[in-house]
């Protein structure tokens, strides 16, 4: 089945074209076309993952796609290995459930069909990224995802806020993509190939100098920073919550933002070969996880809480990769996809019922929306890392890896410095506390106490609760994929590189696990103390006014970008560019037109209609030509 993996993105791409072209004439706006396509893709993906888990080797195939002459071939190829198989299952699962959910959530929307076509295109692009065996195809999928993100965030573009958020997301990820593109160029310049396997081989074989590897790794990581919303480019993700909530679940929690993590994992040997790059990843991840978890504490919009939580959890994955925890990072990506998609879809059904994003207008929803409450609770506790839910297993593994790298002997050959790993471990523990605190706050404010909003909230239709229940099941069991229960055939074995030694049974680091559970419980306890009585008149955090104001303004980062980048660009640079365009470019075009017209207005008087004048000119011309040629010939 591995050789049929290409069918998964191909089906969703076909679904995109069909829905876009004839979707409006199909029953139910063509939404079922995408669902069927991704459903088949899901089945194929599961079979592929099962075969990989059963020991089927990695499979690669490619065709010549764009030959630019010798030395520059761009193949259209795919690689199916454990990593891509895991991602295939994650993407198709979440996409399938989100599309089913959307049929109810988006019902009656005026751009219903367009919305579904975008979901299909997005899914196809992400699957293309996952399966691609070379960086050019990967980049194409990467950029198409950026486009879909733009279209879906700005789905309700009539509202100015939404279209600005869409533009912001597009441009900020582009900033990182420029670095990514240069990274690809550096790698191609050294390896003379875009194929990931060749690049990895060249780096492993030591054929590239250390400085160049660092340069390439840092540049590629820029792309990951943008896509995975890491500090300092994380500010687009909270604003991206302007899009419909299922989109947030699909794109901004489970799949697209995971592409950055996937990219680092895919090119992991390149990063592993550079101490500077590993340290950079670890430090940026540590900073990001802490600052975004703090920001989640002061949000009123439930989706923004989840958005900052996503940023923070993505930072966990990056941190794991930064301290050598390859398996732990991918494992967290895997589990996080389930519980974060669950939380977003749960938030969607709350918003659907309350008609507001603000937690200050929620409260007491436990009784009116029991299914949503229980599934949301499962997702929340998984996020906090309460055993035996999914988040516990993966987060424990990350913390364990950080601990070993920082305080223990460390993995052999790991280049991350011990100090950095210690910082990652400490911030990781701190973030566990903050995560528990903001999750507790969200739970209490949303589901407990008295209802503060308007109308009577009620449970959404089954098309929305059904994905919630399924994802809740996933959030419970996904963690076992790499737990001692999975035995030797766990996730670690699936995604291990072919030449690596077969990993043994996953172990629990008992001291670290107990510590993190205790810290998480402490966070939940503090949240209970602060928010049990419903919405406090004054946020407890406001007792530290400076911190509170800093957080409310999100560290003034947006203001900083506004002052340093947006204003100069929109003011001076835009005006200069406009003038250049108007005067120089348009001036040249219009000048050519008016110049020709003026010249011809004068020259047309030469056409007198007097045949004898023409004949005279002809004879003079012949004489002139004869003179010139005789002179030239005679020297």
């Amino acid at each position: 089945m591995l050789e049929l993996a290409w069918i998964v993105p191909a089906l969703t791409l076909a679904a995109w074209a069909v829905v876009l072209l004839v979707g409006k004439r199909l029953p139910d706006g063509g939404s079922w076309v995408g669902i069927v396509a991704v459903g088949v893709g899901f089945v194929v993906s599961v079979v592929i993952l099962a075969q990989i888990a059963g020991g089927a080797g990695p499979y690669s195939a490619s065709i010549d796609w764009a030959p630019f002459g010798p030395g520059l071939q761009i193949p259209l190829g795919m690689t199916v290995n454990g990593l891509s198989a895991v991602l295939l299952v994650v993407v198709t699962t979440v996409s399938l459930l989100v599309q089913i959910y959307s049929t109810a959530y988006m019902r009656g929307d005026e751009r219903y069909t367009f919305y579904f076509s975008n979901l299909s295109l997005f899914t196809a692009a992400m699957l293309g990224v996952v399966l691609s065996d070379n960086l050019i195809i990967l980049l194409i999928g990467w950029e198409v995802m950026g486009l879909c993100s733009y279209l879906l965030i700005g789905h309700w573009w009539e509202d100015r806020v939404n279209s600005s958020a869409a533009i912001k997301a597009f441009l900020m990820t582009r900033v990182g993509d420029v670095g990514f593109l240069f990274g690809i160029i550096v790698l191609f310049w050294q390896v003379r190939s875009f194929e990931i396997s060749r690049i990895v081989e060249a780096v492993a074989g030591g054929r590239i100098s250390g400085g160049t590897v660092t340069l390439a790794a840092v540049l590629v990581f820029c792309g990951a920073i943008g896509k995975s919303a890491q500090f300092p480019l994380h500010t687009w993700l909270p604003d991206a919550m302007a899009g419909p909530t299922p989109v947030s679940a699909l794109i901004h929690a489970a799949t697209m933002v995971a592409a950055g993590v996937f990219l680092v994992a895919r090119l992991y040997p390149v990063f592993e070969a550079s101490a500077a790059a590993m340290n950079e990843i670890a430090v940026i991840a540590a900073v990001t996880m802490l600052i975004s978890a703090l920001l989640a504490l002061v949000q009123d919009d439930i989706k923004r809480v989840l958005a900052y939580s996503t940023v923070s959890q993505l930072a966990y994955m990056m941190a794991a990769l930064g301290v050598g925890g390859y398996t732990a990072g991918i494992f967290h990506l895997f589990t996080h996809a389930f519980f974060k998609a669950l939380l977003f879809l749960g938030a969607g059904s709350i918003i659907h019922a309350v008609h507001s994003n603000n937690m200050s207008e929620m409260g007491g929803l436990r009784r009116s929306m029991p299914t949503t409450f229980w599934t949301f609770l499962v997702g929340s506790l998984a996020l906090v890392g309460i055993p035996p839910l999914a988040g516990f297993w993966s987060k424990d593994e990350i913390l364990h890896d950080a601990y070993v790298a920082g305080f223990g002997p460390g993995e052999p050959g790991l280049l991350t410095s011990q100090g950095v790993a210690q910082v990652v471990f400490v911030t990781g523990m701190l973030t566990v506390f903050l995560t528990a605190l903001y999750v507790g706050r969200m739970l209490w404010l949303t589901f407990a106490g008295a209802y503060r909003g308007q109308g009577h909230p009620h449970e959404p239709p089954p098309a929305m609760t059904f994905p919630l229940v399924l994802l809740a099941g996933g959030a419970v069991v996904a963690g076992f994929a790499n737990s001692p229960l999975a035995g030797e055939g766990g996730l670690a074995a699936w995604i291990a590189p072919a030449d690596a030694p077969r990993p043994g049974i996953a172990e629990i680091d008992v001291p670290v696990a107990v510590a993190s559970i205790l810290i998480a419980l402490a966070g939940l306890a503090l949240a209970t103390r602060w928010y049990r009585g419903g919405l406090p008149e004054r946020e407890p955090l406001a007792r530290a006014p400076l911190l509170y104001r800093t957080l409310q303004h999100a560290y003034w980062l947006d203001d900083l970008y506004d002052a340093v980048v947006v204003r100069p660009v929109r003011g001076t640079l835009a005006r200069l560019a406009y003038q250049f365009d108007q005067r120089v470019i348009d001036g040249a075009v219009n000048g050519a037109g008016t110049g020709t017209r003026r010249l011809s207005r004068t020259l047309r008087y030469l056409q007198t209609g007097q045949a004898q004048w023409y004949a005279a000119a002809l004879f003079l011309g012949v004489i002139g030509v004869a003179l010139v040629f005789t002179r030239l010939a005679g020297g």
Binding site: G609, Q610, Q612, A615
Partner: protein, 101 residues
């Protein structure tokens, strides 16, 4: 006979034709001047043919072609002049400037 005699003669004939084409106002006279120029060319062709003693007599054959084409050209030219005269009551070339701006 030296080659220069017919060449000088042909030059005079050609120059006369040029003068007639450029200076004459009557369309019939212009057509006749064109014939002079063509005949100057014919003289050249025959002269060079004789001078080079060409076995295939290419120059003479070519001269015959020119005469045939000239006859056709005069036929069309006179027909045009006739039609212009019928329409505009003049064969003065200065007044026939239909194709102008």
């Amino acid at each position: 006979m030296p080659l220069v005699f017919p060449l000088v003669f042909a030059s005079f004939l050609f120059a006369t034709g040029v003068y007639g084409v450029l200076a004459r106002r009557n369309a019939v006279m212009v057509l006749m001047s064109i014939e002079l120029m063509l005949n100057a060319v014919n003289v050249n062709l025959v002269a060079f043919n004789a001078y080079l003693q060409d076995k295939l007599a290419t120059g003479q054959v070519f001269a015959l072609f020119v005469i045939a084409v000239a006859a056709a050209e005069v036929g069309i030219g006179l027909a045009i002049v006739l039609l212009i005269f019928r329409n505009r009551e003049t064969v003065n070339l200065d007044e026939v400037d239909l194709l102008r701006w």
